[in-house]
């Protein structure tokens, strides 16, 4: 993608007339208008558009699914590479986010993650999660939540994160995880209960 790499998002928007969509919108915002307008000669940089729209939120999704923060970046980058390498998946922008999320969830499961991490040449420093302004309270909450999430069943954790962080419906979560809506409800309610118990146990 060497040539395109110098193309900024602004260039993309110039080349395509109807720019109705905020590229930097919240997760779930569709970039359909930009990508589905194949103006002849326009340079449509799908990768930049998708990156701008979804990368950060997917990174945070991965951070909630993984205990080890240093691998979030690897998982999300790998998901972007896989989804963009399969052209059919970026051709339908409505589904691109769904593919990306699904890939992030799948890669976050430990067995696959080990495979990716095995490919890494250099260890990366742990991202510094605590900002300077963060109070002791937030740090405490984070530590408790981390422990609580760690103690959840894999499925419970996935359902909670997808439902409440990614704001997906139960049907969407069911579709992504390949389970029934009933299972999503069950994992969700049990997950919430487990989370509450664990937070109380550590914090209360």
């Amino acid at each position: 993608m060497g040539i395109v790499s110098r193309t900024s998002v602004a260039d993309v928007m110039v080349g395509v007339r109807p720019v109705r969509v905020a590229l930097f919108g919240v997760e779930g915002t569709s970039t359909t208008d930009i990508i589905e307008t194949p103006t002849v000669g326009a340079t449509v940089d799908q990768l930049t558009a998708t990156y701008q729209a979804h990368y950060r939120s997917l990174l945070r999704l991965a951070a909630l699914l993984l205990d080890d923060l240093s691998s979030c970046e690897d998982v999300v980058q790998e998901a972007f590479i896989r989804v963009h390498a399969a052209r059919g998946r970026v051709r339908d922008p409505e589904k691109t986010l769904a593919y990306l999320r699904q890939t992030v969830v799948n890669l976050s499961r430990s067995t696959l993650r080990r495979r990716i991490l095995g490919l890494r040449l250099l260890p990366k420093p742990m991202p510094d999660m605590a900002s300077a302004e963060e109070g002791a309270y937030d740090a405490l909450e984070r530590a408790e939540l981390k422990t609580a999430l760690k103690g959840l069943q894999r499925r419970q954790r996935e359902v909670l994160v997808l439902r409440y962080f990614a704001d997906m419906t139960e049907a969407q979560v069911a579709d992504l995880l390949g389970i029934s809506i009933g299972s999503v409800k069950a994992y969700g309610s049990r997950g919430l209960a487990a989370l509450r118990t664990r937070m109380e146990a550590t914090g209360g």
Binding site: I3, M129, Y164
Partner: protein
Amino acid sequence: MADAPHLREPDGEDEVRAMLQRYVSAVEPAPDALRHIRTQVPRRRARRRQVGTGLVAGFLLLTVAAPRFTDLGLRPPGEPNPIATFAQSGDSESPSPRPSASSSPSVSPSPTLSASEPASTESGSATESGKASGAPVRAGTTTAVAPAGTPTTAAPSTSASSPSLPTALSACQRSDLGRTSTSSGQEDSRGRRVGWFTLYNTSGRVCTVTDSYSMRSVDGGGQQQVEIIYLHTAGDPATELPNPSTPSPSPVGPSTLKLDPQDGVRVEFEWVPTPSCQSAVGNPSGPTTPASTVTLEYFPPTGGAPLQLSYPSRCAGTVYRTNAMEEESNGTIETP
């Protein structure tokens, strides 16, 4: 949310939402994330394509391709390189291996090429060449194609794999590749130049091409000798060409490219003057030999009229060429 211990209890869904958001609010993308993805995507695609091509081609060679050679009058494995055929046929008319519509029902009738198809503005020259049976495409100042002027052959023609893509994969027809672009590049201080031949899929449908390795030089009447056109490999003198990412194409033959609408198939070449002459090029008092014209022809993988370009050189030299590469509609080049 009254006192501290209860604040951290996820009593309601909204609290869970807020807590999860706070938990990751400091997580930010690495500065090089986009760059990393950008470099990896083409590599991954190339890898996928290679695996896919090998499997599909192997299967289809066994099932579909063999009977179709006779049907379509295409070159079966082991028969001479199409270059020879083209050369013998002279330049007034190019052979058209395009199958009739009845023999390939799944190939939809190719849309008529519009004369208004934008011509490329690349340096060098660009030509419209829509008709499969049209006259050879001439670029710029070329002399006539010498009917017997075939001093060169394509390099690894031993692979001799089928250029006849099965209709299941919707092989590109010459008329699908309605827009062409050629460039003879700019001569550098050593007398080298990098140019290309590109054909764009203007058909509006996805189709595939298989590299035919058919590039030749045409005797332009000058005294300069043009060496055989080699397929570029890593470590050879053609240092300006992109290295093939893998040592050999697929085991069953040249790689097949899938061209989306507006994508192009591109072959780049590098002209490398002989070393003795190279050093003299940058020298103002250099070679006294008058420049003569080197003319290259590239036969599209679909068959049909060759693309042609010319450039002056005062040196003898060698032409190296790449495998067919895919140029995406957004300008990205993918090295197979």
